[in-house]
Symmetry: C2
């Protein structure tokens, strides 16, 4: 029933046998190119481009049920939902029984209440329990990404027996390159790589080969913690423990890659003041795109009113010397740009773990020096323009304002991510637009205050 | 000489034996905590925190040369350089001989000319050639990330013979979970996973199990192409071919993770108008931080002068109605913010392959609708403020200007990444600050043009 290559390991090798055996190429006159020629990822892309009914027909034409399950699991969520909606309960239940455990839990979570209630009784008890347990973990946690089909070993086995046991578990395991020894209470005794088993003398006890203190993660931890551990230790699979120290799942390296990409996208969007969009942008509806952007834009409008109020306070200065307005966008934008740069450096450094929440004090001293150098260089550039347009006074005002504004912008940009972290918010919220709005308002005040002072104008 | 766990696969299992055997804990009275207790990544962190001389002493205290080589390879570049500088030529050559091939090539590239010239004669000929070949690939290409210590199989072998052969190659291979059959001319005949070898009957010919069309990448391709293939096909190792179709290396999944993180950082920095910094930010010098930021800031200064010129053109409008300046920061910032959002969505979608260069036309129509909705909502918000501060005329001017400015900003933000891609530049250069500066200048002109028209003022 289950294809021999139905696992993560198989993907590293040849295409799954059921998807690639030439004899199956002629399987059926499909409206789609035959999936038998394709690797899993390519077959999934083909199905995603077809209409749901055609995709379902192509799926059914695969002779091996496990192939169907795996392919269904590999589809983009919205395509998967469209195809599943066309299936009868029995067919879906048979498919779910052979799908990788993490992917079937994701599918289950996306079904509506009625579909779930209808599906559960059609499943065998172990599958039902596994599905419920995996689907119960909140989004964003390790538990929501992990899979429960890991390979286990008996601590009393020899290396040769363990290899035999892995061979038997292969069809139902996400990976056999990393296996785990589990105690009577379900507690993790240790981890071992297939490589070590192969290299050991056949009669070596597993107990002697076991790494008894492998890196572990908790099911309730944020998913990026697992991705970071896997990247740091170059792991193939990271064991996941529940609150009572029992092994409940694994995170594989390919899941870690997906998590890292999703987290990078999230930070990137936050840095651009865009709320997350679950679908690919290309497919998102107008309304969803609108909703992902309007909140921040309105928030920033009110931030920018502060700049307006600053200007209103200096209206008589402006009336007396309207040429000052020429430099206004330039000065406030420079503060915002410098601030956006500082925020960018800090947000990424905090995200990759290069800088920690406690490092703020040590970063701020260097930032002052960098900002003074930057502000000084830019003051030099604009003082010449100031001199040409308005003489020595204006050159002086614009230069001084530039230095102070770049300093303020940079310090805002570097401090905001730390402050957000302290408030238990994502530092990536310290986006370029947010920092720019704050720097703008402060820039207006600094500029006109300096101008009023030097030109001896009324405030 | 070489530790049995000296590979990527070993990291997934127990700590390398040489780094974890209890008997070795008491090895030497070091100024560092004993490395014997540590996993490779942890030992590397410990060494990085020590002074170079202390780190070298701790390294030398490891009894196994392969352990030393692997640990040295795992250190951050600047720490590695500091330690290598303290080594004599013979010691370095011995270390290089046992280091993973990709890491020793990276080390070699970072040595200065004199150190390279001194090292090469001390190496055996095959190592010298390998080092020269790997180090010759330009930064950013697949060749610069790949490793040449891959496992090979003979197409005439049986599955059992192949497993035996992998066992023998394990100590010198980056991974044995994925092996490659190579023809007489060095051409790639196919790939096979250890899992498939284990599951096959022992006398099955390798030729029957081989995937003859695995995904491949070229040594000259950009490194992110390899990372994307590995993520898409969930590969453990991706074969790399040279221009003459010969297998010259592999990229492993853990290298793909590092590449993906580096690429995400690069895009993130570009989006914030910061040039790349090779060191961790925490350790970068003041001057390096300055250099990474000043170019863009100066470029943007000249961009913002356009806004100033726009204002200068409407100086008489401003003199006649100075209250207009109140809304200036608000309006131009809103256009910049909307543009930054659009650019963020597009840059990321292009980077993840969700949107392609040819999709511009289909994106622009939807963007117009989204921008009109956004501009309309924001016009509603500011028209009230405009009414309170200046009456119906001002409310009308501000609302109209807001809609046009948000539309222009959004279209700029969505088009710039495509345009840059067309010019063969990185779309990520379409940073928030760049889009903001462009939107600012256009916003000034739009605002005052509308105001002059409605208030019937001289331009």
């Amino acid at each position: 029933m289950v294809d021999q290559n139905a696992s993560r390991d198989g993907r590293a090798g040849r295409p799954r046998s059921g998807l690639a055996t030439p004899r199956r190429r002629a399987a059926a006159p499909l409206p789609l190119p035959p999936l038998g020629d394709q690797d899993l990822a390519d077959a999934a892309r083909l199905l995603e481009q077809a209409a749901p009914a055609a995709a379902l027909a192509a799926l059914r034409a695969l002779p091996d049920l496990a192939d169907r399950g795996r392919l269904l699991g590999d589809l983009a969520p919205h395509r998967q939902a469209a195809i599943v909606a066309l299936m009868e309960r029995g067919e879906l239940a048979a498919m779910v029984a052979v799908m990788p455990h993490d992917e079937r839990a994701d599918l289950f979570k996306r079904l509506d209440e009625a579909a779930r209630e209808s599906l559960l009784p059609a499943l065998a008890a172990p599958e039902r329990d596994d599905l419920r347990a995996l689907a119960a973990h909140p989004e964003g946690t390790v538990g929501a990404v992990m899979t429960s089909d890991f390979a286990t070993l008996d601590i009393g086995q020899t290396a040769a027996e363990a290899i035999d046991s892995l061979r038997r578990q292969a069809p139902d395991s996400e990976t056999i390159y990393q296996a785990f020894a589990v105690g009577a209470a379900g507690d993790l005794l240790g981890a071992i790589g297939l490589r070590d088993l192969l290299l050991a003398a056949p009669d070596t006890p597993v107990a002697a080969l076991l790494n008894r203190h492998p890196p572990v993660v908790r099911a309730g931890d944020p998913r990026e913690a697992a991705a970071r551990l896997i990247a740091r230790y170059d792991l193939i699979a990271l064991p996941v423990l529940d609150a009572r120290d029992r092994l409940v799942g694994i995170i594989t390296y390919d899941d870690a890659m997906d998590v890292a990409e999703a987290e990078a996208t999230e930070d990137f969007f936050r840095a651009g003041s865009v709320a997350e969009i679950p679908l690919p942008v290309r497919r998102a509806s107008i309304l969803r795109l609108y909703r992902s952007r309007i909140t921040w834009l309105i928030v920033l409008v009110f931030g920018n009113i502060l700049s307006g109020l600053g200007i209103a306070a200096y209206e008589s200065t402006i009336e007396a010397y309207v040429a000052l307005v020429f430099f206004l966008p330039l000065l406030i934008a420079s503060g915002g740009n410098a601030g956006a740069q500082s925020a960018t450096l800090m947000v990424r450094a905090l995200a990759t773990g290069d800088v920690r929440a406690g490092d703020w004090a040590s970063m701020i001293g260097r930032e002052v020096l960098v900002a003074l150098l930057l502000g000084g260089s830019m003051a030099l550039a604009v003082s010449m323009i100031g001199f040409v347009r308005g003489g020595a006074d204006i050159a002086l005002i614009v230069s001084l304002a530039m230095i102070v504004i770049v300093l303020i912008g940079s310090l805002t940009g570097i401090s905001l991510p730390f402050l957000l972290g302290r408030l238990r918010m994502d530092p990536a919220i310290a986006s370029a637009p947010l920092v720019t709005s704050l720097a703008d308002a402060m820039g207006v005040l600094v500029y006109f205050a300096i101008a009023a002072q030097i030109l001896d104008l009324p405030a």
